[in-house]
């Protein structure tokens, strides 16, 4: 009787499995951010609570690109609190281990937590709070350090560089330490397969410029299940024509932006996880119990009396346990992230300027469908930061300066 708990728990847990939300990526890529935001808002209101952080991140990202800064900040922060909490109930842990892994609350992989922190940092910068922006960067750096493979625990050059810029904005003297970490992280990432160039003007002159352009290219990686029992979580890149960007101000070329963050690389260097070992064990159990169940059922047809009945019961139970054991990897991921983040800095006169951003394909050719124009205000003191994504132009109000 006691053994009947195992399939029972599996049934209950499998029943609570949560799927990746069907975010309308075609609309996102087409620049219809209002539709994606509405989808995400509906999911926040009536979708599975376990996916709240995921869909809030998507909603906030749309709001940020639409210029709705306060809404974006609030949603990123709620998502960040869920993603950053290490607390897990025993029931949730048991459900994810015995049943489907995707029954657990989505908290994202370290690279997703780092991206959440990056967006929160931008929101606080535009709110005029560089210290909170820097706090978000620090949290992102800590999240990046949670990867299983220790070699890749501090390779997010973008967050280190941003923390340095915000320290500079706060008027504190320790910005150089962050800039040095950024250069080290960039060199390390390049050595281990990240995209980018060893010659990086932004990291070579990290304090340069009163205009900072943060340019996001492409679509981030897709997480999928691999292996005979779908027990392996893997990442694959999504195709998008935009792989780089350049900008001009009032008709004058500012040059090509430098790649500071390769999101695909960050995802792929996650390293082995403890859950992967558990899923592999469940996959072995699933295969073994299914095979044993079939063998016993087959033998029961050739036996007779009590032996046949015992074999049929045991075989049926094993087959059922095998079929109900879910070894599938949790493949929920933040699907609207960019593939790369580039930065371009320039020293420009204060005042109003016409900014033009051209996203580039792999051959360096301009992609006119993504060309964006914006009127920006560069303050007499401080800096102007502008965020753009390789999407068809979205109309939005200009942002306040930090």
């Amino acid at each position: 009787m006691r053994r009947s708990w195992l399939p029972l728990v599996a049934i209950l847990a499998a029943g609570c499995a949560v799927r990746q939300p069907e975010v309308p990526l075609h609309a996102f890529v087409a620049g219809d951010l209002a539709q994606v935001r509405q989808f995400a808002a509906d999911q926040v209101a009536s979708g599975p609570a376990e996916n709240e952080a995921l869909v809030r991140n998507v909603q906030a990202q749309c709001e940020l690109l639409l210029g709705e800064l306060e809404e974006a900040r609030r949603n990123f922060e709620v998502a960040g609190r869920i993603m950053g909490s290490w607390a897990t109930s025993g029931g949730e842990a048991a459900g994810a281990i015995l049943g489907s892994e995707s029954s657990k609350t989505y908290k994202g992989d370290p690279y997703e937590q780092a991206m959440n922190a990056y967006y929160i940092a931008l929101c606080y910068l535009w709110r005029g709070e560089p210290d909170n922006a820097r706090a978000a960067c620090k949290r992102g750096i800590l999240a990046d350090a949670e990867v299983g493979d220790e070699r890749f625990q501090a390779d997010n050059a973008l967050l280190f560089w941003m923390a340095g810029r915000f320290t500079q904005l706060m008027g504190l003297p320790d910005a150089d330490a962050y800039f040095a970490e950024a250069a080290t992280a960039h060199a390390f990432a390049l050595q281990h397969g990240a995209r980018g160039s060893p010659t990086n003007p932004v990291l070579a002159e990290p304090r340069h410029g009163n205009l900072v352009l943060v340019l996001e290219c492409g679509m981030g990686p897709e997480k999928y299940a691999d292996g005979a029992q779908q027990e392996l979580a893997r990442f694959r890149s999504r195709y998008h024509p935009a792989v780089g960007a350049r900008a001009s101000l009032d008709g004058q070329d500012l040059g090509v932006a430098s790649l500071l963050l390769d999101v695909d690389y960050q995802a792929s260097t996650l390293g082995g996880t403890a859950m992967e070992g558990i899923r592999k064990g469940k996959a072995v159990f699933k295969t073994a119990s299914t095979v044993a169940g079939i063998v016993l059922l087959d033998q029961s047809t050739r036996s007779s009396g009590d032996t046949a009945r015992t074999q049929a019961i045991a075989g049926g139970a094993l087959l059922l346990a095998g079929l109900l054991t879910s070894s599938s990897a949790d493949v929920r991921h933040w699907p609207t992230l960019p593939s790369t983040v580039h930065v371009l800095t320039a020293e420009v006169p204060p005042g109003e300027h016409l900014l033009e951003i051209d996203f580039l394909d792999a051959r360096g050719r301009s992609l006119p469908q993504f060309r964006q124009r914006a009127t920006i205000q560069v303050p007499p003191h401080g800096e102007a930061w502008h965020l753009a994504r390789s999407l068809p132009p979205v109309s939005r109000p200009s942002r306040p300066e930090p």
């Binding site: 009787m1 009947s4 029972l8 728990v9 209950l12 847990a13 029943g15 609570c16 922060e77 960040g80 609190r81 950053g84 909490s85 290490w86 607390a87 897990t88 029931g91 949730e92 842990a93 459900g95 994810a96 281990i97 892994e101 657990k104 908290k107 929160i120 606080y124 709070e129 210290d131 909170n132 820097r134 706090a135 978000a136 620090k138 949290r139 800590l142 350090a145 949670e146 299983g148 706060m170 996880t273 403890a274 859950m275 558990i278």
Partner: protein, 197 residues
């Protein structure tokens, strides 16, 4: 046996689909939602503790001639790794100081919004658009109170610790002397579940 099994199944099903709660709790009570960073209990303990320490120190007590000391709260710089609503803490601290000192001190509002309102009101009075006269100067300050939130975070494998230190300082705005300082500390330790590793 069958009834027991069915009952157990039903109990498990109901447990798995248990409802949520929506309960009013004491802001001074520890958070059931744990995690690193300052929680409501910390903010409450911090502001009441700071106000009590400042009062006990006596630096803000009225002088022999009964003149009240004046001060304003300027900034709370966040050097930690946790984004925080500074205004929430500063407003609470200001309220707590009012509660602790009553009319014994003068707390000035030096926010840009207050300055704009004062300027506009003074202009309207000068023009005779509203009643009243500008018969007093904008109050000067004897002291300024400011603070810093700092943190030290360590993590190794499945464990993480976060130490937060909040320091407030009161500076004499004539002599530039640091006349009082107080701190609040808290530390949390977290263990990551195997399902999130």
């Amino acid at each position: 046996m069958t009834i027991r099994f069915a009952a157990t199944t039903l109990v498990c099903f109901l447990a798995a689909c248990a409802g949520t709660r929506d309960t009013r709790v004491d802001p001074d009570a520890p958070d059931t939602i744990t995690g690193t960073g300052l929680q409501s209990q910390d903010i409450r303990s911090m502001v009441t503790g700071m106000a009590a320490k400042l009062k006990a120190d006596g630096i803000l007590n009225p002088g022999r001639d009964g003149e009240r000391a004046s001060f304003f709260i300027t900034e709370l710089r966040n050097d930690s790794s946790d984004v925080i609503d500074r205004q929430l803490i500063l407003r609470d601290l200001r309220t707590e100081l009012f509660d602790a000192f009553g009319r014994q001190i003068r707390i000035l509002d030096r926010s840009p919004e207050a300055s704009d309102l004062v300027d506009a009101e003074r202009r309207m009075k000068e023009r005779g658009q509203v009643s009243g006269t500008n018969d007093r100067k904008v109050a000067g300050s004897d002291f300024v109170l400011k603070g810093v939130i700092a943190s030290r975070d360590r993590q190794a494998g499945k464990l993480k610790s976060s130490y937060i230190n909040v320091t407030f300082e009161l500076t004499d705005l004539v002599s530039q002397e640091l006349v009082w300082t107080g701190r609040y500390e808290m530390k949390t330790e977290s263990e990551k579940s195997v399902i999130n590793r």
